[in-house]
Amino acid sequence: MGANATTFVPSYTSGEVLTAANLSVTNSGIPVFADSTARDNSFGGTGEKALAEGQFAYLEDTNTTQYYDGATWQSVGVAPGLVFITGASFTTVSSVSLPAATFSTTYRNYKILFEVTATSASGGTSIRMRAAGSDNTTSNYRQMETGITQANSTSNNARDNVSNWEGMSGPIAMDVFSPQATNVTHVIGGYTNSNPFSIIGRTLNGIFVATTSFDSMSFICGSGNFTGYYRVYGWADA
């Protein structure tokens, strides 16, 4: 229990002589408790305030600030669902690998934003899953995409039993499902090929069909080198 933690929230009677301890608790602002049990035991007893709507509390064990809404305790400043993990810019390289252990047991699913802002030659970006510093080059990748050009022509793309997910360009946004789990890995997202001669919008549905655990992913330039940036986020479970 921390130095500011309390085990009661006092209530005073008319004419009562207050001690320094009484005043310390009263002047402490939001009362601090070791946990929810200490919080609940600090209201309504002899010499304690009755719990009522608007009461605040801080819990040391979960590092959360709460308020009482008249029926239950609610948390303030709930943790975001999408948590930044890593990101970087890259310049005139032929391949980019996310840092080792980008995918971990901390999160099951991930959001990745990857944008190529310049390339030295035409050619899309290919993606391979990665583990322990090596790309997985087995023929376990499957890829299904529906697309359309700016001229309203269909531009689908499908590949089966290949060694990568290929052909993406421009900004790519995708969710990666269970890469770290020993499980089939799925990616679902989309991208916009912003080549001025061939503007195409496509969905991205990719499967790595083997049950392999990955800790990273590589983006490989289809030809020459590329420049851009990426960001990786984890989807919180709660």
Partner: protein, 63 residues
């Protein structure tokens, strides 16, 4: 042998021999994929020419 750069995490370095071999193999696969797509497009256009249809007319016909 042409050296290629990889950004591995936050470090930029030359590809290892293994990485370079994988990269070059991938380029070969991608070139084959593109060639197959181009051949398919040529074959499709040849059929359209025989039928006297444009690509948009064929799309409208096939839904």
């Amino acid at each position: 042998m042409t050296k290629k750069l990889i950004q591995d995490g936050h470090e930029v370095r030359e590809m290892t021999a293994t990485e370079l071999a994988e990269y070059e193999q991938l380029q070969t696969e991608l070139a084959a994929t593109e060639a197959a797509k181009a051949a398919k497009a040529v074959a499709r256009q040849a059929v359209l020419d025989k039928l006297g249809l444009t690509a948009d007319e064929a799309a409208a016909l096939l839904g």
